[in-house]
Amino acid sequence: MSHLFQSVRWRLLLWYALILLGLITGLCLLAYRLADNDRLSQIDREIRNFQGTFFRSLFASRPLSKKDTPPSLDEIRDRLRDPGEVSAFPPELHALFEGGSGGNYLAFWDGDGTPLFISANAPAGLKPPVPSKDGDTRYISRDNYREHHKTNSSGISSIIGREISAEQSDLLRFGVLLALGGGAVWLAGLGGGWWLTGRALKPIDTIGRTASRIAAGNLDERIEIADTDNELDRLGHVLNDTFDRLATAIERQKRFTADASHELRTPVTIILSETQRALKREREPEQYREILQNCRTAAERMRALVESLLVLARQDLPGPEVSHVSCDLAEIANGVADLLQPLADEHSTKIERQLSPAPVSGDPHSLAMVVQNLLSNALIHPPAGGIVQLKTMANGSGSILEVSDNSPGIDPEHLPHLFNRFYRADSARNQANGHSGLGLAITKTIVEGHGGKIEVQSGRGSGTTFKVELPGQ
């Protein structure tokens, strides 16, 4: 049961039912009240008319002597005490004298409480009206009767009433009909609400089912979106965009893992093949030494690869320990150039330093890795005997690092992929040098992690220049 009320559809319907019930009840009560008031005021009007008829008839049978002046109080008292012959009254007033139940009745009392006239059909135990604060004249509903109570300033008080049980049962019937009708409308409303909520929630249901299929691994599926611009379609677009980005990230991750394992396979194959070969027969120590050397080279390649992968993983998900401090790119570049001098000597390449202060804010260790990757790339690739230029400078908004060589240049077809992970313009040579194909990818990740950008310019015969722009402090 509890899960039923957690369902959005049921909860919506519950609220809807409550609100609808309140509205219908209010409307029915209002209608009932209006009908009630309407009937009462009609009855009151009838009562007043009846009083008028009675008085006119009272004086019509035996006209007063002075015709043009209204009758005096004493004349009225006299007439009430002695109304005269029944036959002198119109037939609708005969019940006043002949008794019976139903219809209108009258009662008049003098100021001292003595009855002047009480009609024969009046209910038993009728008492003179009690003067009230509300005024001298008022309408009162009492049991099955509606009465007009009046106390004159002269002391004469009157009750003109009428039995209203027929009207009351009419009203009751009307009330019951109203309740039944209201209930029917409420139920119809509930049905409509159930249909409407179902219809409104159906796209959400579809989205949910599609999303769970995607979560189950069907990454190519997308939510179908109608060509409108309602809230759910916008939600669908947002979700589809999210799925797109997730799928791309997963695809990239997959490719990266595949590439990484691919890169690890070759050195593992070498170690396996060399050790199996070594163990197959007795050998000279020199041969064992050579095989061990080969295994070591393969293992070193694996180490370099694993380290590069770790660096990349750290750059992809920078932890809290990565702190940015103020440092000078020129100092870092100088240190790295000193470190790589032996490599330059090995390739008979000259490092030309043009280092002017270039303040940046960043992680000096990572930035040194940037310089090292670019510089060692430049030292290894061009033919021996070249010149590699290492420049740092501050420009208006930040700092610039440039590494240029006079190599034969990189083929334009390779340029767009140069910063891709595991991309190698020339696979055989790079791997032999212990390069994992991750150096430039790491460089790019670090530079972008510092909010900078890296670009490469290369043309056949004009050398290659890597330019790193980092924002200032």
Partner: protein, 216 residues
């Protein structure tokens, strides 16, 4: 038996070729697709070990081009083990497939199987009158006794035994017993033949003058 190893990684190329030489194969090497295709087209190898990822053009491309003129058995080595890659390799004309990292013994067994199949032999043990050649153990037995042969002599016996009944020319023998780095005189072949005859009986290898040698 002469093999061609096409592999771009220098260390792995060295390891494979040395390992195979120790198994009495004559081994040529190539480091990229262009060189590999040229060598594969230039000689009749008994089998080719081909890496999938090569500079120049890759192993699949090389296979497609090679298959236009030669049916040399090819064993593909690749770091990619996805099923579509394997299908692509086999459809391009590879005869077998090994995923890196592989076991060296398995590579040897698969190479033996490839060579056996292409020469029409059914098993690793070749029985000739009183003489058995075990191509797996690289041994020759005469009446149950192991006869000690040098690698070159064994290679000569194995090749002739696999092509039993047909005349093998001196050039063909020469091509399949010596690799590209050996610049030996062709009369060295006669020395090996005479040594084998001394060890296994003079009638074991017959000479067809002007044509070559054969084992009946």
């Amino acid at each position: 038996m002469r093999l061609l190893v096409i592999e771009d990684d220098p260390l792995l190329r060295h390891s494979l070729s040395e390992g195979l030489r120790e198994e009495m194969y004559a081994v040529d090497t190539a480091e990229d697709g262009v060189e590999g295709l040229a060598k594969a087209q230039g000689s009749d190898y008994d089998a080719i070990v081909l890496d999938g990822m090569l500079p120049g053009f890759d192993g699949w491309e090389l296979l497609l081009r090679l298959r236009r003129e030669k049916t040399t058995p090819v064993l593909m080595l690749t770091a990619r083990d996805a099923v579509p890659d394997r299908i692509r390799g086999l459809d391009a004309g590879a005869d077998d497939y090994l995923t890196k990292p592989f076991d060296f013994e398995e590579l040897l067994a698969r190479l033996r199987a490839l060579i056996r199949r292409s020469s029409g032999a059914g098993s690793n043990l070749l029985e000739l009158d009183g003489i058995a050649v075990d191509t797996a153990a690289k041994l020759v037995m005469k009446e149950g006794e192991i006869v000690s042969l040098t690698p070159r002599e064994y290679g000569l016996v194995e090749y002739l035994a696999l092509h039993r009944g047909s005349v093998v020319s001196r050039t063909e023998l020469y091509e399949h017993l010596f690799d590209e780095n050996e610049d030996t005189l062709s009369n060295l072949l006669d020395v090996h033949v005479s040594n084998v005859r001394k060890k296994l009986g003079s009638s074991f290898i017959s000479t067809r003058r002007g044509h070559g040698y054969s084992i009946e």
